[in-house]
C-alpha cells in the first residue's frame, strides 16, 4: 500500500525561535520526496514532528487521509531511519529487524518469514546473528532500513541516512535506495543538505527555508527557475549570478543567470579576478558593477583581462521573487 501525506500549516518553535512557520507540503503516494536545505533550517525537526517524537505548536499531519496529529509515534505507522541509525545495541541484527513486528505481537514464524524477506532484499542474510555494534557503517545503514521496511509502513522518513558513510559506500547506497523505493513503491521523505543526493534520488525536491517550503519541484526546475533569489543562490554547484537589471533594460529589478547561460558578446563586461579549471571548462570569476559573477567558458583568460559576454537566457527577479524567465536571441539549445 502506498499513502499520500499532507502537512497543513505546521507551526513549531523552540524558546521563541520559530522553526516551522505555517509549513504546507503534500507528498504524493509512491513519491520520493527530498527535503533539501542548509543545516539549521529545521529539516530534522520537520521529520520529527511528522513522525510524532516532537510535538507541534499547531497544524495538522495527515497520512492516507487520516489525521494523525495527536497520535503518539507508535500509532502513526510511519517508519524513520535516523542519521546515526539508532540500532538497539543490546540486540542482534535479527532482533533489531524483528523488533517492530514483535511490538505488533505477530507470531514467531511470521516474524521469521518477514525478516528473511527483507534481509534477502537488502542482502544482509549472512550477518543476522551479529551484534549490531560490530557492523560497518554500510551494514548498519542496511539494518536500519531493513528494520524500517519490515513493518510495511505507510510512510518512510529518512534523516540524512547517507551522511555517516564514506564516499564509495555512499554512492552504492544511493543507487540501492532509489531502486528499493521504486521496486517496492513506497512513499519516501528524505532529508538532506547534499544537492547531489537530492538531484539523484528525488522525484521532487522541496526546499526548506525560513520555516516554510520555499519551492517544490523537480531538481532541474529548481536549478533553471529558482522561485527566489535565495534558492538561486543555494541550488547549484555555483550560486546563480545576480546583476542589476538596469544593464539589460530591466531597471529596478534583478537579473539572475547561471554560469553556462552565456555566450561571447558585448552586452556585459567584467574584469577577471579568478579562474578555476574544471573538466575541460573554465569558470571565470569577475565583477559586474560590484556584483561578483561566475561564467563558464572554453576560452582561456588571465587575471586582469576584461571579459565580455551576452546572456542566452536569464531570470528576472523582483524583490527577490521570480517574475519572468527570458530566452534571448542568442539562445540555442546546444549552448546548454
Amino acid at each position: 500500500m502506498t499513502y499520500k501525506m499532507e502537512l497543513i500549516n505546521l507551526k513549531k518553535s523552540y524558546n521563541n525561535v520559530k522553526v516551522l512557520k505555517n509549513l504546507n507540503l503534500t507528498v504524493n503516494d509512491g513519491e520520493f520526496l527530498v527535503i533539501l536545505g542548509p543545516s539549521g533550517e529545521g529539516k530534522s525537526t520537520l521529520l520529527r514532528t511528522i513522525v510524532g517524537i516532537e510535538s507541534l505548536d499547531g497544524g495538522k499531519v495527515t497520512v492516507g487521509g487520516k489525521d494523525v496529529t495527536n497520535k503518539p509515534p507508535n500509532k502513526r505507522n510511519i517508519a524513520m531511519v535516523f542519521q546515526n541509525y539508532a540500532l538497539y545495541p543490546n540486540m542482534t541484527v535479527y532482533e533489531n529487524i524483528a523488533f517492530p513486528l514483535k511490538m505488533e505481537r505477530i507470531g514467531k514464524d511470521k516474524i521469521k518469514a518477514k525478516v528473511n524477506e527483507v534481509t534477502k532484499l537488502l542482502k544482509i542474510e549472512d550477518i543476522l546473528n551479529k551484534n549490531v555494534t560490530k557492523l560497518s557503517g554500510g551494514q548498519k545503514q542496511r539494518v536500519a532500513i531493513a528494520r524500517a521496511l519490515v513493518r510495511d509502513p505507510a510512510l518512510f522518513l529518512l534523516d540524512e541516512p547517507l551522511s555517516n558513510l564514506d564516499a564509495r559506500v555512499r554512492y552504492t547506497s544511493r543507487q540501492e535506495l532509489k531502486r528499493l523505493q521504486k521496486e517496492l513503491n513506497y512513499t519516501f521523505i528524505y532529508v538532506t543538505h547534499d544537492q547531489l543526493e537530492a538531484s539523484n534520488l528525488a522525484d521532487r525536491v522541496a526546499v526548506l527555508h525560513n520555516g516554510v517550503i520555499e519551492q517544490i519541484g523537480k531538481y532541474n526546475e529548481l536549478y533553471e527557475k529558482p522561485a527566489t533569489k535565495w534558492i538561486g543562490d543555494f541550488i547549484g554547484t555555483y550560486p546563480m549570478n545576480f546583476i542589476d537589471g538596469g544593464i539589460l533594460d530591466y531597471a529596478g529589478k534583478t537579473i539572475g543567470f547561471r554560469p553556462p547561460w552565456t555566450k561571447n558578446g558585448n552586452d556585459i563586461k567584467a574584469e577577471v579576478n579568478l579562474i578555476e579549471n574544471s573538466e575541460g571548462n573554465y569558470y571565470v570569476h569577475g565583477n559586474v558593477n560590484g556584483n561578483s559573477i561566475v561564467i563558464r567558458t572554453t576560452e582561456k583568460y588571465s587575471i586582469g583581462d576584461e571579459i565580455s559576454f551576452n546572456l542566452t537566457k536569464f531570470n528576472i527577479y523582483n524583490n527577490g521573487i521570480l517574475e519572468d524567465v527570458k530566452l534571448t536571441e542568442y539562445y540555442k539549445n546546444e549552448n546548454l
Binding site: S55, L56, D57, N70, P72
Partner: protein, 281 residues
C-alpha cells in the same frame, strides 16, 4: 490529551516528583520542624530558653566538633592526595594496593569503631600490646579529651580516606599527561609540577571531596559514640544524649538546630571557595 501531549517536556517532571516529594516530606519538613520546636519552651511559649539552658555544653561541643571535623578532614585530604598520586603511577602491584586501600570503605562504621575500640582499649588493647612488646611504656589513649578526640580522628581517617582518594584519583586521571610532559620538558621538577599543574587541575575534585566528606564529617555520630561515648560530646552525640533522656528532649532540638547552622555555614564556605563553578560544570 492534546494539551498534555504538546507540553511533553514538562510531563517528565512527573518522573522526578516521587523522589522530590519523598525528600520534601521526610527531610525538609522534619528539619524545619526541628528549628521550630527548638524555640518552644512550654505550651504555646516560644523563647530562646532552650538555647540558654545548654549554652555551655553547646559551645564546648561545637568547638570540639569543629576541631575533630577539620582535623579529620585535613588528615584525610593529605593522605588521599598521597594515595591517589601513588595509584596513578603504573606501579607493579598497583591492583593489590588499590584493593587494600579500599577495604576500610567496605567495613561498616560501627564495625570499624568496634575494632578501634579494641585496638585503643586502655587495658588489653592491641596498640598498647604493640608498645609493650617494643619495650615502650603503654599509653592511656583516653586520658585527656584531646587524646580521645585524636582516637576518633584516627578512626575516621582510616574509614573515610579511601573515598576521598577515589575521587581525587578520578581527578588525577583526568589530567592530560601531555601537560605533565610539556612541563618537564620546560624544566619543572616533580615538586613544581605537582604545585603548578597537579594541584590546580585537582582543585575542583578537592572541592567536591571536601563538600561530600566535610558535611559527613560534621555528622559523625557512630564513631564517637562507640569510641568515646560522651567524653567529650560532639554535637551529634550531644543531641543524642539529650534526646535519650526524657527530661531534656527539648534541648536536643536546640542542639540539632545549631548543628544545622554549622553544616549550612560549612556548605556555603566550600561553595563560595570555588565549589560552585566546578559543581555546576
Amino acid at each position: 490529551m492534546l494539551k498534555s501531549y504538546r507540553n511533553r517536556n514538562y510531563k517528565y517532571i512527573l518522573f522526578v516528583l516521587p523522589a522530590l516529594v519523598y525528600i520534601a516530606i521526610l527531610s525538609f519538613f522534619p528539619a524545619a520542624s526541628v528549628v521550630f520546636l527548638s524555640f518552644k519552651t512550654s505550651k504555646d511559649v516560644y523563647s530562646l530558653s532552650n538555647y540558654y539552658a545548654i549554652k555551655g555544653s553547646l559551645l564546648k561541643a561545637t568547638y570540639d566538633t569543629v576541631i575533630v571535623s577539620f582535623g579529620a578532614l585535613l588528615i584525610q585530604l593529605f593522605f588521599a592526595i598521597l594515595i591517589a598520586n601513588i595509584l596513578i603511577k603504573s606501579l607493579k602491584g598497583n591492583k593489590i594496593f588499590s584493593t587494600i586501600f579500599i577495604i576500610p570503605y567496605g567495613i561498616s562504621t560501627v564495625v570499624s569503631a568496634f575494632i578501634f575500640s579494641l585496638i585503643f582499649a586502655a587495658v588489653g588493647g592491641f596498640a598498647n600490646s604493640t608498645l609493650h612488646s617494643l619495650g615502650l611504656p603503654v599509653i592511656d589513649w583516653y586520658k585527656t579529651q584531646y587524646s580521645s578526640m585524636g582516637v576518633v580522628m584516627f578512626a575516621d581517617f582510616w574509614k573515610n580516606t579511601p573515598l576521598v582518594a577515589l575521587i581525587l584519583l578520578g581527578g588525577l586521571s583526568s589530567i592530560d599527561p601531555a601537560m605533565m610532559e610539556a612541563a618537564s620538558v620546560d624544566g619543572a621538577g616533580s615538586f613544581r609540577r605537582f604545585i603548578h599543574i597537579t594541584l590546580p587541575n585537582l582543585a575542583p575534585f578537592i572541592a567536591i571531596a571536601l563538600l561530600i566528606r566535610g558535611v559527613s564529617e560534621f555528622n559523625i555520630f557512630a564513631l564517637p559514640l562507640v569510641l568515646i561515648g560522651y567524653h567529650p560530646s560532639l554535637i551529634n552525640t550531644l543531641v543524642y544524649e539529650y534526646f535519650t533522656s526524657i527530661s531534656s528532649v527539648d534541648y536536643s532540638y536546640a542542639a540539632a538546630t545549631i548543628l544545622l547552622l554549622i553544616i549550612a555555614a560549612f556548605a556555603v564556605l566550600v561553595i563560595k571557595l570555588g565549589g560552585t563553578s566546578n559543581y555546576e560544570k
